[in-house]
Symmetry: D2
Subunit: 338 residues, 4 copies
């Protein structure tokens, strides 16, 4: 950690701070310059956080040397982690396409969509039983009945199922039905939920918040790993920017950035990431090209009649086209698709 | 609602959509232009949301005419709402200053800080017992013991207490000790928590998320009101932007925007909003000048020793100075401060 | 254009506005709803802009039905435009890779880099003679001498040359030496410069501003086309967001969005777009995968000794690797690379 | 400057970098830690920029200790600069209100508006003769004739005049008629224009770009000062964010941030900053409360008939109200208004 003192700081202030650093068992460094005094502290920066050195009135700024996350970092764990979702490995050679409707609406809708996904050789089934909706007047999901329907469709097609959990109290219920637990963008910093899924014994699909930096996402994953669950899949799904041509700005840069910093697998959700059906296929290809380990795609048997997010859902025929068009890009990336 | 069709849409597509609008009991309108066909639908737009018209393959865009929130809107409820927090009215003539440490750390720290706040005639005491921390290795708060300490300090000084609740399951516990329940920025779209505080029978202090538009904040408040709780105070606390000179960008424009759209009181948190102690006083003045009903300010008896967010906490003497300097601005706004 | 009136607007206000719309020769529409009166105006929206209807005190909001650009729009011109840069077609089947150093530093540096680019079969040479630098103390480019060096390197290798022009007064000079004129991100809304390059008789490479929406970029291109120059290549190069892991956020979504809205070719600059050398190759692949017509890549014979932007420049060997690794992605996209 | 090396860097790499630092005459520092080696370089960081240390393949990150601007910094020049605009001091005890129409449209419009501004005791007249418009089809200003009209109105009312200059070539013409030269947000990084106004011998009003950090604004001002012109007034006018309730997000935090870092006066433009007439008065008050030295406000005798930006222009009566309502806030800030 590098600590820059204010111009008015005296030698006494520097000594006081150096003593506090030393008292933690870390190595303090004193670097007096012509315009500023700079202090250094070498060692585990997690301990230094405790000192809250930036709160000191004579400290101008504090700059970390090391990343604030540990368990998720590639430095701690150089090899790629492969997470098994109901037997499907995520993070290996296969680009894993997870698909399904935004919301589970009925057994027929789910079964029909699942059949289409399986026919196109999608790898994992998705579908929301508990829906986080911006409006209290919008469809909130079928709850437990939705979980049952999802499980039936998954079992019938032999696809593992992933679904969102909204609240720590629901974790046991959702874990009973799902092969992986999704934590949505709006809950990325719901730390109670992160701790609960960290203890649930099921893989976690953690989506980046719309206002979260990559570092914030990695810190959220650190919560899950710190709670004892190493099976975390990260998901880029678009961030808030000033651009209005897309609902969010899908930030594909996050894929190689995360790959460099972390050993965890990363997938991309081009449906929420762009909010527009016609952008899903090009951005899915781009995601695979820059190294994504998988995709999360919304598919509905009849998007124009969907109860939520129909605007961004693919028709089954479009999903089949996506899978076909994606194939050469997966191959170009040295990977397989199905 | 205004529905713009794609250039390739036929009369048949238009008729199909008009029929769906009419079937909901709304008035459909047909406006054929030279370059685009535009449809209109007049009536309760909440019903129209169900139709998901933007998911239709022949629809280019859908534009709402009315706001998506109802209960929080000024149109529904033209007069300012005044929320009582333990007897202190928020939204009336008095600018209500809520102050205290980021986290409750000990009975002594809390009592000393509370005394300083009371001496400077702050109106409400704040202090976190459950802390949402970016890092799992950071201090997470004292939990129940923190609530007890906060209550004791509040009772001793006669100040009402507000504190954050992180999870729906904690609402009854926190409601037992606090005069108002704070929902933090990271939980602004934790809809389960919004529903739980909506049923708690205590006023709610709802902070704007770092990636949330004003409209998103109003929709989050709509959840609380729709759950039966009319006592919501909104809080602007900074949004995510590209600017790095401040930790967040405090968006004071939100204050007059909310005042125009909603009847709910609005307060401003210049401590989190800027993340820097030396900006708190000028931005607090600006908040009062543009119409804020109150402030939420971090004060710590010794910020350099604080367990969290010391960088943005005022020293007690600075808080006293803030209250003195704020006085003429409150008067200029036709309000009182104490 | 759709005009939503305020709740307090009377029939008289509506009639007044309808009369102003009719007076322009457009078709006025009156749609009285239960909560709001909505007016419509059908016809050339460029004329409607003149009315400044949103300035009327009884107008709540104005929503356009049609895009504000005409000449650049795909509706006006459905087929892809192919722009010839010194004989190299941009926008056709070949993915055109433009490469070179950020700044022209010396004849040797330029010649050596150009040879490396040609050897790897890059298509166009780039290099800055006039550099827009954030700091007045940074290297500002060699000016006219830089243009001469660039031309010599281009002629020696048989590659066309593209270089930036900073000011309307420099357009004739730069046009004398370059095969295409680059307008940089910081000048995207320097309308005098846009008009000048519109009259220069050379193709224009127009980079998106860091704070510009896609629509703003298309409007800037409209300036060039309206000045008589149809040969515009658009370039995505990263926008300002809250994310700090990359210098800018390369917004690849812009590629398919522009392709849908405009007939102009689009290229991507992953060097400036990410600001980090190690992200250039993955994002270049992604750009090709989502439909980019070309790339703009910084290459320097010795990035660690570069006078500007060395952090994001590829070593010649990395550029050769990029070209090799890109090949299968170009093929997957149904295109050729060299 | 602090240089963090990559984990794989050897002692040899460190020595090589330390030698380069020493060769510049700066003091090199070596700080070997357990997980990273950190180097320091103490001295004039402008020299260090030349080294482009972040381009070195073994350098992980480079962190500046000192600000990159010098002439504009408060460290170099601790006392507030006061800039005289035609005899009106900006940066002193008086809050200077500059007002006028977005564009000069006619002698009558200008004269009538100027009279209203003078009657309400505005201090400076503004009006655009060269207009930077997003659309090439929008009104582009009256040019030289507009300058003449502005000058006449200024002379008739005794108010100094400020107007925008779009291009370096126009600087002599505009300087002939105006008391201060405005550089607009879209030209904030038009470095040729900055150099030209730096040599013009007239005060410069420099507006912050919509995608510019405060640091970028200060660097742009540094260009003007470095060209020999010390008379720069900075202007906050809104930045690009995801919020759509306002046209831009007026970032008032910039006011106290700039005041801490720089000695230059700062004014605020709430008209462009919010884009909505009804937000101008509250945000103007807030600007004065947080320390702005002045305001730039759009006023039009008939906004509904304005040729540009009518949506955000005040009616003359509203301007008079603004001046009256502002008075107690100026007094609360220890300043005068007229």
């Amino acid at each position: 950690m590098i600590i820059v003192l204010k111009p008015e700081a005296t030698r006494q202030h520097a000594d006081e701070l150096l003593a506090r650093i030393g008292a933690l068992g870390l190595t303090p460094l004193h670097m007096p310059g012509t315009e500023r005094v700079v202090l250094g502290a070498l060692g585990d920066e997690r301990q230094l956080e405790q000192l809250q050195l930036d709160a000191h009135p004579m400290v101008e700024s504090v700059q970390r040397v090391l990343a604030p996350y540990k368990l998720v970092s590639r430095e701690m764990h150089p090899h790629d982690t492969v997470v098994s979702v109901g037997g499907v490995p995520v993070g290996g050679v296969r680009v894993v396409v997870m698909a399904g409707p935004c919301a589970v609406e009925s057994a027929e809708q789910m079964r029909e969509t699942a059949d289409a996904i399986r026919a196109a050789r999608g790898a994992v089934l998705r579908g929301g039983a508990f829906k986080p909706r911006t409006s209290p007047y919008a469809f909130q999901g079928l709850g437990r009945r939705g979980l049952e329907i999802l499980r039936e469709a998954a079992d019938a097609t032999g696809l593992p199922a992933v679904t969102e959990v909204l609240d720590a109290a629901d974790v046991p219920l959702v874990a009973e039905f799902a092969d992986a637990l999704q934590v949505g963008a709006r809950n990325m910093q719901n730390f109670r939920l992160l701790q609960a899924v960290g203890a649930a014994g099921k893989p976690v699909l953690l989506k980046r918040g719309m206002g979260a930096k990559v570092e914030d996402l990695l810190m959220a994953a650190e919560y899950v790993l710190a709670a004892g669950n190493p099976d975390v899949i990260l998901c880029e799904r678009g961030i808030q920017t000033f651009e209005t041509a897309t609902r969010n700005t899908l930030d594909l840069n996050a894929v190689p950035v995360i790959k460099q910093r972390s050993h965890l697998p990363v997938i991309v959700d081009p449906s929420h990431g762009t909010g527009r059906r016609e952008l899903v296929i090009p951005m899915a290809k781009a995601a695979v090209a820059c190294g994504a380990d998988g995709l999360l795609v919304e598919v509905h048997r009849d998007p124009a009649a969907a109860l939520s997010d129909g605007r961004q859902s693919l028709y089954p025929a479009q999903f089949a086209a996506l899978m076909n068009e994606l194939e050469p890009f997966a191959a170009a990336a040295g990977r397989t698709l199905r």
